[in-house]
Amino acid sequence: MEKARPLWANPLQFVFACISYSVGLGNVWRFPYLCQMYGGGSFLVPYVIMLIVEGMPLLYLELAVGQRMRQGSIGAWRTISPYLGGVGLASVVVSFFLSMYYNIINAWAFWYLFHSFQDPLPWSVCPLNGNRTGYDEECEKASSTQYFWYRKTLNIAPAIQDGGGVQWGQALCLVLAWLVVYLCTLRGTESTGKVVYFTALLPYCVLIIYLVRGLTLHGATNGLAYMFTPKLDQLANPKAWINAATQIFFSLGLGFGSLIAFASYNQPSTNCQKHAIIVSLINSATSIFASVVTFSIYGFKATFNYESCLNKVILLLTNSFDLEDGFLTASNLEQVKGYLASAFPGKYSEVLPQMKNCSLESELATAVQGTGLSFIVYTEAIKNMAASQLWSVLYFFMLLMLGIGSMLGNTAAILTPLTDSKVISSHLPKEAISGEEGTWFPNQPSLCFTPPPMCSILFESDLKAMTGRTLNWYWKVMWAGVSPLLIISLFVFYLSDYILTGTLQYQAWDASQGQLVTKDYPLYTLAIIGLLVASSTMCIPLVALGTFIARRLQGRGAPPVA
């Protein structure tokens, strides 16, 4: 008797699993950046359009494929057409690479979480130098949060060629991260189904708490005003549209096989159309919600820095001209500067080079994304809040929930096809490769999509049998034409962009200057990048070719049966 396929205990578990997979770190640290770069409130226009045109159709398709085929990505694509088995294999390979580096982010979140239980927070003060008369030089040039990230956490090497030693703290955290993922996926849907209640809901609790805290911070309105003021001219910028499309694609996690895997554990009669719409709407709403929180924190940080800058200028002028302490304030600063310039021109011109031009705009305009946002900008804002340990613990716990939720999807994408194809025990050891830090992983969009034109005609009857309702004309139009066109044009755009710009570059940390510098990738790393890309994309043609050859041989071997 064939072993029954494990199922989700109820449809809610499935929805939560999809939400906890889709709502990940990208919603928190990429969307606010894009919003800021491409015109604030007006970025929502391309974003929503792409959601309707690309996000929902492709999500529905993936869920439907998984639910209908009731297999992981390899089996599902092979069932659609034997020549397309390579697509499934390619998505497993990509998910494998993704899991490798994604869990390192979870390790960092653990590291920061464990370090949040100290008073004062370790990233709020610079360590002292040798003779205890001042602070460490690298820390002075940069800031204490940057120092903690680049030196204490990563212990970053000056360039990709320079090897460092093993960072034992990071290695331990990485082992723990993998153990946690193992614990959650140990029993398949039984354990994952329970974990996703937490990984889906807890981040929202923390976001709401942060929303209330963020909006009550001094200067939060500056950030919100800056973000939501629409700059309509950005609508004409093609990059805005391209980034909106890419963001929708990666935010929902399409094409990696995780959604197929999750849907394959569904009851065949589940209404995946409704679920697809719910998940995509929740995902986008979370992005917008997270950017409100992020921008109120941004506004607070920018205002804080602006006021510190002003205070430094005030102190400088007070000391140089021996003015009465407390006489100079932010309001009369410009006036007094003018007076001093006219009354003591010589001395003023001496002091002038040291005076920084403080501008709230320039503080707000420092757009950051990715690890820089979470581990540098946010920590800087948190250290200035009252009860900073509590906020820090909450924040990194939320990051962990988001990260683990996405990891569950990634591992499901790998494990589901594997468990489908062979009979393995439920104990699947997953070893982590820990060692030197991998911040060098290039930020390229994965070139493994769901490429082929959707066989909507073939699929329609299956869907009708499954969900019991006919396919809306909207889905048909999207699947047959618009979505594949969009995906292909994105693919072409990125390919041409890489070809045109020549060498790829990365950001390295320069300890002597205390800031990031751009460097070119050396040749051997370019080869590795090429290998990574090739190993996934080559699966598709190779498997197709292999199937073709196998069929031809089979056809010649066996005589046709009457």
Partner: protein
């Protein structure tokens, strides 16, 4: 005579204590920034206290136990509040070397600060670097303790799940042998299979199935 002496003293004073004099230090206070509403005004009494604190610090240095308040000279007080000071030797002709004064002030820095309710940033001695307090370093870093706790919990949870999985599978493999025993007992006890008790199926003599019409009722009456 007294007037002459007075002029002489002030002349020497001016000679020894002036901005950028040899062995002189500039002091800067930011009272309003530190204390806000509770700020006190800087007057000659506060100056006297300052001189007393400097004399006190000097007296702690070996060979300088006889330093008096009158040996400390203060000049050029500005609105900021900032001023210069020097410490003279008992003869009041030379100033004490800067190095001595510096080390004396560094040692008693905390006492001087607390006398004025200020700290190292608001009571600055230019050219005298303050010793920064090192951050407290516990013997075992706190993060390792928390890491250890979480790690142990996760390991225990994994072990529990694995063990219960093994136990479940062992129970399943014992399962088929138990089913055979029950089939033998079916004749003696009433066992339920698919919701139908076994018993009626063994009844001898048969049963009339009422779903089938009898011969008489097959044809409807005219």
């Amino acid at each position: 005579m007294l007037c002459l002496l007075f002029f002489l003293v002030t002349a020497i004073h001016a000679e020894l204590c002036h901005p950028d004099a040899e062995n002189a230090f500039k002091v800067r206070l930011s009272i309003r920034s530190a204390l806000g509403d509770k700020a006190y005004a800087w007057d000659t009494n506060e100056e006297y206290l300052f001189k007393a604190m400097v004399a006190f610090s000097m007296r702690k240095v070996p060979n300088r136990e006889t330093t008096e308040i009158s040996h400390v000279l203060v000049c050029n007080v500005t609105q900021r509040v900032s001023f210069w000071f020097v410490v003279t030797d008992p003869s009041k002709n030379h100033t004490l070397p800067a190095v001595e004064v510096q080390s004396a002030i560094r040692m008693s820095r905390n006492r001087i600060n607390s006398a004025f309710f200020l700290n190292d940033q608001t009571l600055e001695f230019l050219k005298i670097p303050s010793t920064l307090a090192p951050p407290t370093d516990p013997s075992v870093p706190i993060w390792i303790i928390i890491f250890g706790v979480i790690f142990c919990i996760v390991i225990v949870a994994v072990m529990l799940l694995i063990l219960s999985g093994i136990r479940q599978r062992r129970r399943m493999s014992k399962g088929p042998t138990e089913v055979d025993d029950t089939e033998e007992k079916c004749e003696n006890t009433i066992t339920i299979e698919n919701g139908i008790p076994c018993d009626p199926l063994d009844t001898k003599g048969g049963r009339i199935n009422d779903a089938f019409l009898t011969e008489d009722e097959r044809l409807t009456p005219l």
